[in-house]
């Protein structure tokens, strides 16, 4: 993963990005699946209620809330971690691009990419509501 300084061509960037996406999606799918099996084992016999919108409980709306929920072995919290990993995958891709453009000494694109990254992070941590 560590890009050599002079050799970080656009092609090499593509390859690394492809790797990030593969790992991110694979890992996310795995966690969602594991959480899903656990969820069905625990709640499979109950009735689904999606007809009326109630929204998620507060602990499933924030990053620390989800982590705490999952670690106290709540199946829904584990699935939500998988979903977080999925949302984080494109964000990781953008974060990597910041570093890559910096290595290429491309200031314009470092700034452009930082703008995208800050919008993403801001929305995820709930700063833009």
């Amino acid at each position: 993963m560590a890009p050599r300084k002079p050799g970080l061509t656009d092609e090499r960037m593509d390859q690394i990005i492809s790797g990030i996406l593969r790992v991110g999606v694979g890992l996310a799918a795995l966690v969602v699946f594991a959480g899903g099996v656990y969820y069905l084992a625990k709640h499979g016999g109950q009735l689904p209620q999606y007809r009326t919108f109630r929204g998620q409980p507060p602990q499933l709306r924030t990053l620390p809330g989800i982590l705490g929920f999952a670690f106290s072995s709540h199946s829904r919290g584990i699935i939500e971690i998988g979903l977080l990993l999925l949302i984080a995958t494109p964000i990781a891709r953008v974060a990597f691009s910041v570093a890559a453009f910096a290595l290429q000494r491309d200031r314009t694109y470092v700034i452009i990419t930082l703008i995208v990254l800050s919008v993403l992070v801001c929305n995820l941590v709930g700063g833009c509501r």
Binding site: L21, G44, G45, Y50, T52, S75, I79, L86, Y109, L124
Partner: protein, 287 residues
Amino acid sequence: MLIWEFTLVVWLGSLLAGLLGSLTGLGGGVVIVPLLTLGFGVDIRYAIGASLVSVIATSSGAAVAYVREGFSNIRVGMLLETATTLGATGGALLAAHVAPRLIAVIFGLVLLASVYSSVKGPPQHDTDGPPDQLAQRLRLDSRYPARDGVRQYHVRRVPLGFGLMGLAGLLSGLLGIGSGALKVLAMDQAMRLPFKVSTTTSNFMIGVTAAASAGIYLNRGYLDPGLCMPTTLGVLAGSLTGARLLAKARAPGAALGIRGRHPGPGGGDDSQRPEREDLTWLPGSLG
């Protein structure tokens, strides 16, 4: 219907949606929202949240394959992502203040437009126009691997493309879709990128755009784990299967009865255009 039955049926439905989305080029998102709301009576806010997450999965999953092949233009993608993420933020914030009924109407209109553009396909254009000053200053011009070797292209009309991308982001955030049709339109028609570069770059951007609004939806409690689980896994499996089928069907002469040069998963008739024949599948590039 109990939760395990509901989960299984939604998973199967999502599998078909992902399959259909990747074969037709509409993408999973535009299929999953009507499926959940009309088919299973799910509230549209839950449906949009689940659709957004599945859009990220298919976009990122598809990107793995083609990013490495060097079609997508990373600079164009990154520049336009400033427009799509800001648009998506606006769309997601707007979603809280628009009546669900109105969102459903807008969704229907966008779906019709997507189907229309998917069947008809954008008009052809040449990609070797004169260079554009702004595009050159932003170093957007690039090249891509074509059949007959590497081909150069110039990027045009950056502000128009940027504006259309803002709109694409807004719709994506409001409706929980990838709005790839509009993204491809902006790059292919407005900015005059080669079609292949437009579709791959669009798909590349969809994940980032969807992640921008997914963050807001998460904080607002629209992402239900029990619902997102079967939809995400189903759409992902379906679109990957669809991609496999497309790759097989791309063998000489084969067509799945899908007409048109749609800006979707590589297009059913790409075989007619030699330089596009090897275009990799792009599940979810529209939805």
